[in-house]
Symmetry: C3
Subunit: 472 residues, 3 copies
Amino acid sequence: MNKNSSNIMALAPNTSNKRETVCIFGTGDFGRALGQKMIQSGYPIVFGSRSPQTSNLIPKEAEVLSHTEAAQKAAIIIIAIQRQHYDFLTPLAEILRGKVLVDVSNNLKINQYPESNAEYLAQLVPGAKVVKAFNTVSAWALQSGTLDASRQVFVCGDDMEAKQMVMDIVRALGLTPLDQGSLLAAQEIENYPLQLFPMWKFPIFLSLGLTAFFFFYCLIRDVIYSYVYENKDYSFFIAISIPNRICPVVALILLALVYLPGVLAAIIQLYRGTKYSRFPDWLDKWMLCRKQLGLVALAFAFLHVFYTLIIPIRYYVRWRTEDGIISKALNNKTDPFNNTNGWLSDSYLALGILGFFFFVLLGITSLPSVSNSVNWREFRFVQSKLGYLTLILCTAHTLVYGGNRFLSPSSYRWYLPNAYMLSLIIPFIVLILKFVLIFPCLDRQLTQIRQGWERNPQYSEQSNYIINKSAV
Amino acid sequence: MNKNSSNIMALAPNTSNKRETVCIFGTGDFGRALGQKMIQSGYPIVFGSRSPQTSNLIPKEAEVLSHTEAAQKAAIIIIAIQRQHYDFLTPLAEILRGKVLVDVSNNLKINQYPESNAEYLAQLVPGAKVVKAFNTVSAWALQSGTLDASRQVFVCGDDMEAKQMVMDIVRALGLTPLDQGSLLAAQEIENYPLQLFPMWKFPIFLSLGLTAFFFFYCLIRDVIYSYVYENKDYSFFIAISIPNRICPVVALILLALVYLPGVLAAIIQLYRGTKYSRFPDWLDKWMLCRKQLGLVALAFAFLHVFYTLIIPIRYYVRWRTEDGIISKALNNKTDPFNNTNGWLSDSYLALGILGFFFFVLLGITSLPSVSNSVNWREFRFVQSKLGYLTLILCTAHTLVYGGNRFLSPSSYRWYLPNAYMLSLIIPFIVLILKFVLIFPCLDRQLTQIRQGWERNPQYSEQSNYIINKSAV
Amino acid sequence: MNKNSSNIMALAPNTSNKRETVCIFGTGDFGRALGQKMIQSGYPIVFGSRSPQTSNLIPKEAEVLSHTEAAQKAAIIIIAIQRQHYDFLTPLAEILRGKVLVDVSNNLKINQYPESNAEYLAQLVPGAKVVKAFNTVSAWALQSGTLDASRQVFVCGDDMEAKQMVMDIVRALGLTPLDQGSLLAAQEIENYPLQLFPMWKFPIFLSLGLTAFFFFYCLIRDVIYSYVYENKDYSFFIAISIPNRICPVVALILLALVYLPGVLAAIIQLYRGTKYSRFPDWLDKWMLCRKQLGLVALAFAFLHVFYTLIIPIRYYVRWRTEDGIISKALNNKTDPFNNTNGWLSDSYLALGILGFFFFVLLGITSLPSVSNSVNWREFRFVQSKLGYLTLILCTAHTLVYGGNRFLSPSSYRWYLPNAYMLSLIIPFIVLILKFVLIFPCLDRQLTQIRQGWERNPQYSEQSNYIINKSAV
């Protein structure tokens, strides 16, 4: 669906160029790709190279000179060279004085060096204005024009004017510059392309841990117990029956964990009587990955839905149904219809469907393009009101599913309750705490605190400027 | 999935600042949050406060002065104070002459005051250039950097240059300014953050009304009728059976209502012989919420699909199947396979699946990021061609589902037809009218009218500049 | 969900206008719509018209003059006239000297004229600076403010300064300008709005071809064979049974075809020992539509899932089940539970669900707004690692579904194997080749080549600057 913008890009503009010459040090893959792209956008390019004559992959429109000659031709010099070879710049310090040096380098590991490459460059060439940029863009994306991954270019630097010049180039290349402040930000900008879903780590490890725990729990209850006491081999439960016990349980627990930190934060604020006091670190981190927790929960709910829907197609289920009917027919016996069972069965299914529906709605509104097009009040309405509605529906679904089995002794094999009973603990805690917090007396006080009122103003002197993250 | 941009933000740039000092009046939550964010982006900040000495929550890098002193230090003054306290600005009028005043205030209710806060501010300080901005951004979002809800900042003002200065600040903060024109737009900008899905109200209320109507309709036909005549308690139908009658019926009606206004508009244009004539107001409003109507219809279709898929898992259905088989086995009776029933059953299911598939496709293409990446021709192709295909498939699904039951008297309990029969009325009207409109003679004339041709040109003199909304 | 930005747009700014006057030649639909929009954004507008007095649909705020008078009032002239009437500009050449002419025209067919309209305009008025812009925006979208389809305005031109002036207007109108380089790009920009999913053509035609082939294949095997040998009429299989054989088969083949070109490209690179050598054209094109191939495959997988889930609701399936049970009951016969069948049935269902889950995940991450918010490493992780996982799961699903039927002679009617057996060929080829390529010796060499190393450097002399598209 996305149009490839490079398709509609003329290769070589025969223009009355007004753009300033840019110099690129380094004729490697990235330097050449960036040079080619800048030539297309109307910039005259000079490459600086140790061995100017051998570089036959370089775009024809560009000049290749020695480092010294090339640097003299431009006000902006892009350093497309690895950090290990930055030393060659030291003798050039005099020529580079006052020039804008653009550091585009990346490292192989997060926090590989004590200082960022850009800061190291600034130390090596003290007279130059160093700007960090382009490190999040790949050579391949520049060449092919398929910038699917990201059009955002993080830019930082201490000199406003130099930064502005670099941001203009970024814009001319059809990319979006994002000003990240001073050169201190370079370390984080250099770490960014090395990250692999950092916000997702905790939710995914947590869910894998829960999955493993409940897998062995159900294995003991459903497979091993049957094998020991009834001598029946239910090992094939591992494929569907047990996953379909794990998924809803993990989904419900994760969903409750999305709303638990907000409730805890409210309690802390009520207890302290102020919002100008930093939350414990674990709570801060927990709050920041609530969206990811919710989406992992949705993934488990999705699996649960499809594991449930294929139940009637399973050979085991079809065999059991058939066997039951035939034995009843042979014994000339029919069960009467049990109205209570009819109600219970239909209710838990209906609650599950509605819960899943609102869960999917929450997931859709967390898509970046959707959440960008709603205002703050609408976003909070969806994420908070609809979120609690989903939690209530899913908890009720589990409760009604349990039905009257909670007290039946056959539900406790080896004194282990059914997994779904365990899954109800955290949702119950969240819902009870939330119910208490919306009592008018507490709610009024909490609203006051969040608007800046303080019970004991001395708290605020401990910390200078603190963030209230419980707003959503 | 979204990277938190503030994570890669250096806290305090030690820069050779070239940015102009900005003054903020008011040291409340929002003023401090905005100040902190602007300091991070390299702006020197002066706070103007009634009591400069006590403000210990203010960022350390900022100066706190009296209003008069602070105002003298900057060309741009952000008024982060509630409208009720604007009076204190009157004595400062002389100092504020020629300065840019940025009104960031919001109200508690839509249209709370006769004039917008920004216009009121402009009246109070006639010599200043008032710009409305930042009111859609929350203090919390500024502080935490999690601008999930919206990065868009609506800006309006009468002075182009002042507006440009404010838009530069917005961009420097990593937000997207949207120029909304003159200060007359301030009222609507102030109402914006108070809105709660205004375009969704009509579709949601309409669907709730239809749901309520069909709920009681089905309750009478399916539960009360059975109770009265057969003395059977089918009250548990409320959980699944009745919702699964309501959902498809409401979905189909809403989907037809998406395409009805376009057809009506075409008829009006054909009748009037011009497109330069305003449509009735109700038609205009209806047209503007077609997308929302369609998405609500999709939600009902989604519920219908899942209510249908869990049918074989329901206790009632399993009991009925079992009971039927056993009684047949005991009576030594088997039904022969009925080929017509095989065809009907498979056809309505296949039509339903295909209809749902195209409906989901329509839903996906209405996601903002998807619809932004297609061109106008593609968007119209999907929304119009695929939309009608979906409507045809869903109508056919309902028709075939009815099968030969339309004429069967058992379908009319208390003379009430099945709900699905009622749901076919509007789709039939839409499809018949559309079918008539694509006849070459009418289609050609309509195309001419939409390209600007007029049968009776006097119509156009009534109204100066009118919009043809039926293009899609 | 998207806020209609024109709702919060003041109609007529009473501003201290600093914006420059813009002239529009042509008072047709598009000229008027653009004029109205520019007036709202604060631009004084002069229309140039052949018959200035009769244009009563023109916004009141605009002046209407003759072409000559209007052109003299502005530095920028928007030519909102069809290409056929461009001749009238020749006599005006003297007045237009040095002015910026904005060509907004579109054609009716792709590549309708040998040169683009903008280049033709530049030839007609040699002294003017021609800029192509606004052709992707519809008059209707400008008027109604519902810019759902696209806010992107492609801009190209040979004069940097003129282009910059036009891009400023684009931004002021709330649209996003995209600089496409010199006027050579105009041809492609003019073709853009006429395109109808060009990247989707190959995947859709391929899938329709495969669908047709497998339809007749299954028709012969499942309907005609039964009719000939068993004299049974299974024609109703056309509605669901046969589609549910076609969909998974086509989905799996298309999914494998997404990963085949990457594998082929790696083999070519290994064989040639360099990446600086252009791939065959067909491979280049194939690589560029991988995303579309994958999404079409997902659509077929989606249909397969829903066709499968409604199996137990089908009349034919219910009849067959019932019939089987009754005949067993009457014959007093019960089947024992077959543990192998239990394992096979549950495994293939579980594999299918997991495969579908990861497939949906891949689909979600290819939404533009999601793929924009991940970095390059994350994008490659999802599209490559998760993609292969999906392919492995789906292939295993098909294999286990086949189970022990591969060798059974009853699977070969008229010597034709089951359709799913055919579908396994390409996935097997891809997975085996990929397995060979991740062997350390090959993988190391491939990584070196992709980092720029060459086995026989003479290759690189053949071509100047070539793109390595196999990076993902």
